[in-house]
Symmetry: D2
Subunit: 458 residues, 4 copies
């Protein structure tokens, strides 16, 4: 069955059919399609286009179809072009005549985007929950690792000592932004296209505001032409997904680096690592590499779909059918990744002593400069002096804290005997107690804020 064909004298070529049909992937919208059709039947009844009895039949029929989908008993036929056709075909089989009234004043153009919006609105909370789960795991780690001091890196060069907790939390906040972005998107996705017809609106007295409310939308779309063509919500979701992918790739990169033998900071739990078919000793962070890789793939869905949208002429064009696969695939990718990451993080073994051991005295050069600032030397000059000192120790093959007081004073007369306390990493960390800094008290405050934020997105 297809929902058109009266004017056609020839059947669609089988290859063209295969190209055109969307049932392989849009069947995922089955239950949303049923739900949308039930709401539409209700609206038709209110508008006097369905009798009470017809409405009852349609409603019951759709309910039965919904059960078939739920219980995976629905039998698709080769001739079902798309999910809308399949549902209407089945309804006809079930209730006959009255089924033919359901499509009154409606078009697949407004129907399909209604289904897709419904699907997204149905599924966004689950994705948000998965993000929240990973945030929880990060907070747990931050709480567990509060006394671990590690080298902080910029340019992948040792920069300054930080708390490992602070590092974990640096991956929390991007996810908070991601959740906020999804929330913003939700608002925009919750605009009901149904009732826009093919493009011009519906000629029957449908109350689209009531329809929107019934279906859980925030409002009815304001312009019927825009309503059938607008896929901003898909593009925006793909952007959100891709940016989350970028954030996860950053976390993954960190875990991959830190679990290399050279860093040696972390060890993956066996349940989240894989081996080699050739090298018996290998323990590979595949999970995190796939996370990193999928960030690239997600990015491709975004740029591909935006290229699909570019310069389409007005209203509905079939190109828009390319919206579903990227949306579903991006959603599935993140839904699969996030819980695995949360569990893997929880199972990590931390080698705190290795982290601590890697904090070389040079990493406290900024603290030394700050020490000079306290002695009244302008920072720029202090920075230059310490830089020269670093040059000197490199030449002499010494560490900064191995210089004698005299050696310090050679270059910088202002240095006193109290200089050596500068080289205590814990001390350095503790000093950075301004809001957002790495001092334990600031990190504790940050954890408190993070917990608060986790409960409220905005």
């Amino acid at each position: 069955m297809k929902l058109w064909g009266g004017r056609f004298s020839q059947e669609l070529d089988p290859d063209a059919w295969q190209l055109n049909a969307s049932i392989q992937f849009d069947q995922r919208l089955a239950r949303q399609d049923v739900r949308g059709s039930q709401a539409w039947a209700e609206a038709l009844k209110k508008a006097g286009l369905l009798s009470v009895e017809e409405h009852r039949q349609i409603f019951k029929g759709l309910e039965a179809i919904d059960s078939e989908f739920k219980e995976q008993r629905f039998a698709f036929k080769d001739s079902d072009e798309d999910i809308h056709t399949a549902v209407e075909r089945r309804l006809q089989e079930m209730i006959g005549h009255a089924a033919g009234k359901l499509h009154t004043g409606r078009s697949r153009n407004d129907q399909v985007t209604t289904d897709l919006r419904l699907w997204l609105l149905d599924h966004l909370p689950g994705l948000d929950e998965s993000l929240r789960l990973l945030q929880s795991a990060l907070i747990e780690r931050a709480e567990a690792d509060l006394d671990v001091v590690m080298p902080g890196y910029t340019h992948l060069q040792r920069a300054q000592p930080i708390l490992l907790s602070h590092w974990w939390l640096s991956h929390f906040w991007p996810l908070a932004r991601d959740r906020q972005r999804l929330e913003d998107l939700t608002r925009r996705a919750a605009s009901l296209p149904l009732g826009a017809g093919a493009l011009a609106g519906t000629p029957f007295p449908i109350d689209r505001h009531a329809l929107a409310e019934t279906m859980g939308f925030e409002r009815a779309a304001e312009n019927s032409i825009d309503a059938v063509a607008d896929r901003d919500f898909v593009a925006e979701f793909l952007f959100c997904a891709a940016l989350t992918g970028v954030h996860l790739s950053k976390l993954a990169e960190g875990i991959i680096l830190f679990s290399s033998a050279e860093f040696g900071y972390l060890e993956l739990p066996d349940a989240y690592a894989t081996g080699s078919s050739l090298m018996p000793q290998k323990k590979n962070p595949d999970i995190f590499e796939l996370t990193r890789g999928k960030a690239g793939t997600l990015l491709g869905y975004l740029s591909g779909f935006m290229a699909v949208l570019k310069s389409l002429p007005s209203a509905y064009d079939k190109d828009l059918q390319e919206d579903k696969i990227p949306l579903f695939t991006a959603f599935d990718s993140l839904s699969l990744l996030l819980p695995v990451l949360a569990k893997a993080l929880r199972g990590l073994t931390i080698h705190a002593e290795k982290m601590r051991a890697n904090i070389s005295a040079e990493m406290l050069a900024t603290d030394l400069a700050d020490y000079l600032v306290d002695k009244g030397i302008p920072f720029r000059e202090a920075h230059e002096l310490v830089g020269m000192l670093v040059g000197t120790v490199l030449e002499r093959g010494k560490a900064l804290d191995e210089l004698s007081l005299e050696e310090f004073q050679e270059t910088i007369p202002q240095v006193d005997a109290d200089v050596y306390q500068v080289f205590d990493a814990q001390h350095s960390v503790s000093r950075r107690s301004a809001f957002g800094g790495t001092a334990p008290e600031a990190v504790r405050e940050q954890i408190r804020l993070a917990k608060e934020r986790m409960e409220v997105i905005d």
Copy 2:
């Protein structure tokens, strides 16, 4: 001058310098850099790191530098690596010694992203205003063209009659969403990194909340590592810009089509069209083609920059320097395009009679089906019957409304003499009066809503 080098025994290779230097493009941040430095100096004074006199000197010096930038008198030197270096270098020339204290507790890592956020926050209102301007032009057109009926298209095939006003407004709402997205972005961009230092926070008693408030930010960034690395606001801006580009490309595609000889619906004003070096008769819609083309280019900035971000290790990495050119260029593109489009739309000549003439009787086939629905035939059956009728008229080389009543009744006995009123396009349009539809009253209501929305983004 460069802000580092104490530990280095060799000068940077000149080619490496050229690759590394960012002054060619980050000088655009000059005034933001000065403003940020003034706020930082204030914070240092409050924290007891600058005396009142030192602060006064620095503040005055920066003010003088700001004037130099404003009046384009600032003399860059070849040795200025970036805008931060240039400003500090100039300050040193002006006030000497005290200038060296300005960089206390600060790093270029927190400074540069603060500058860039400030720049964006400074410039977003202007972009919003440009979007609003185009929205105004669309509303003006919608008001002017309220009585123009035209063919509405789906799949670029004539579908149903619509009002031209309704078509103009279909381009209004995407821009409303764009403005809302920029508003959402603004909220996220207004998070102050300053005080994050290189990555670990600042060791001096800086009140970052107060600093944020002074500088017009909504809040201080919660994690110093994230603060120096977070370029979500750039990616999100590039997404917003690219999606706006997509919307403009759709409008442009419409104008290009409608101003082709074959459609003949619109004529461009001479002031917004261009000619050919070879073909004297040509009048080309270059403005709109460039709009369409730039949508592709904008998309490239988005996908390029997200690829830059992907899998960067933690905190600041120099790769992030690739953020500025796409941000500035995307901003400039839209800032240039939007006002030109607004002006060009206002100047269009509308060929209403050509539009009306193109509404063939077949475009009212849906209305005929609806007519049958009113006669009690289920829509699906009505659709099939009308489809067959269309097949018949195509064969006979007639138009639908040229069929005699008998011919109608051959296929559909339920048809009465009142069927001919169905083929009045104005009547068809008027029937689509449900919210969001193309009926004049619905469009008038839509214009009212649009005006309301234009003033309040959300």
Copy 3:
């Protein structure tokens, strides 16, 4: 079964397994995996690592497995991590002990990319054939439509008369370049990684040159580290596919435009058009819209996968597993599209009279300028004069060829009575007979060249 695990004390978490496993998509490499394993077994035998008997068993076992795949009898198990594991597991079931020797000196790292290259080399000829098929259809059209004169467009504005044949052929040559690009890629893809081991090469005396020859590769990869990591051939294929997509989208855009009512140049065969669920009269070019849309999607696979590759550290990383889905999907997309397009083009109805009717006199303005050039007026001046004349006729609401000789001479005294032949479109077309032009003789020559080229790619 998995091919590792000796050192692991815990099973992989089920979610992590699902994320990690590739069997859902890499089973498509089944027959290549078998073939590669047979060649490897042969190489091991030659190297003295398999006895003749062991080799016989392995070879026969693999042959039986190949039959199972061919006849779709192979039973995958939930525990098959990937196709390599599945094959080795099955081999073990079949021949026991000896199966354990097959993986000697080999790693999944060199195995998987060998399989993928083999798959591509196996399938490229089919894709080339599909491209050739579309080229044939274009040539057929060009031959059939040799006497159809139509308006040629630039900027979608009527520019100069051309032959429809010439337009068809303008879509032939991009496909010729596409085929040439695939040929170039084939050369690069035909580099054998097998024998690279995990990354360091194989410690056994394998003759990789002989192995390459046996397997139909042009050469053995020169560096084992590069061999396991190199996915240039995937990126290059995705680029070729995306650019072919762009070419098809251009053709599709043309067909969509030309089959709109406004152009009215073409009519789609019913077997390659679709209808509307709401509007009974619609005949939509879905096939061509999907072609256009898929060009965007293909572009996404390219940019996504290149982002996957960006900044991977050396040798094999699991991120590379993201190579298969885009490669397979891009291949399938084009394989589905191309034959449908070829068939649809063959079935088009051409409305030659409509095309001819749309050649307005203004389109011959360049010919008029050329006529003036023949009269000794420099082209730039001629262009200006004709431009003024066009302005005049627009004002007077006349066509260029409706001007009286006196009217011509008002603006351009050099015009003679012979000017009117300029406005014969056929004459205009015939004059463009230089190589590559639209004159019938030039187009005939072009068809000859095209046929020649179709047989030889380079």
Copy 4:
């Protein structure tokens, strides 16, 4: 001056002018434009459209203009819309009347793409030379570091010992493919559009084959419509550039990792490293980070431009003007990066002892399995046994080579006293002597091949 306008009654709006004008960036085509015009003038003379004297004047005038460009004396005017206009305007100033004949039978449509192709053909050899330079540097390193054994990584986990030389060469071959791709592109770029006119060809008897030969093209474009629209060469160049970017990003990632303190394998020369404005001790690999970042940016140019091309209607559209900035910028990026990288590589200090020290006994687990294979144990079983052994040593906190013979034999009775030689990394490396492997003799052979290849691209 603009090259059109006769039919226009109003000047272009200044903002529209700014949007439309391309002179800011296409002036880079100045000398190609002059060269193309000289060749065209020659062709016009041969075709009898210019007298010998006119041709002489034009040729001389263009020569003088070329000198002005060469010596940067050419004075652009605000009214120069593009480089073609600027050149013709200047020619008119210089030689008057005759200049107006130069544009006979030519359009900016065929002119601009001819200029751009010429530019690319002029500049590709320089880019190839830069790639060759980096290849040289890699070979030099490979020769210098032939006796350095280092850990080879997969999944960033220590996998097997390799020669550092082998690692350097793993970055050589991707560049060989890049150069081959540029060579293939050159062939396709060398197709001359000139003579295609606006889209229909030229009506004058121009010998396009001769013109192509004169201008150094391989052939004349076969179809005038395709000729003015074809930007495959730009897309293909952007792909080549992006893939080279990916290759450089991989090298950069390696250098960044290896020059981190944790790896400690390499030290950057001071002339190719930068410092921090805050942290005096920092020595940052900015050059390599920018290389990595620019790979993302290059990718954006590719995907952006392909989106520009997607679904353009036939022949020339103004969207194509978006081709120049990405082409020039991508070219400049690589031209800047490559020589810096070559120099930086040459200046690296290698810490061979650190590399050697990081080869733990576990990295020889595969060699141990291979040893068992030699003892007749099937590889799969050997792999499993060694895996268990690794598990054991991990538990006991020992290294593999610290096990006593008895401990070995507990798990694997077949082990003999000769097992300990397995743990000699040099021995392991030497065994991988098959073609493409890491054994010194294989690497020496590889260097020989690389040198050979460097001289011949294909």
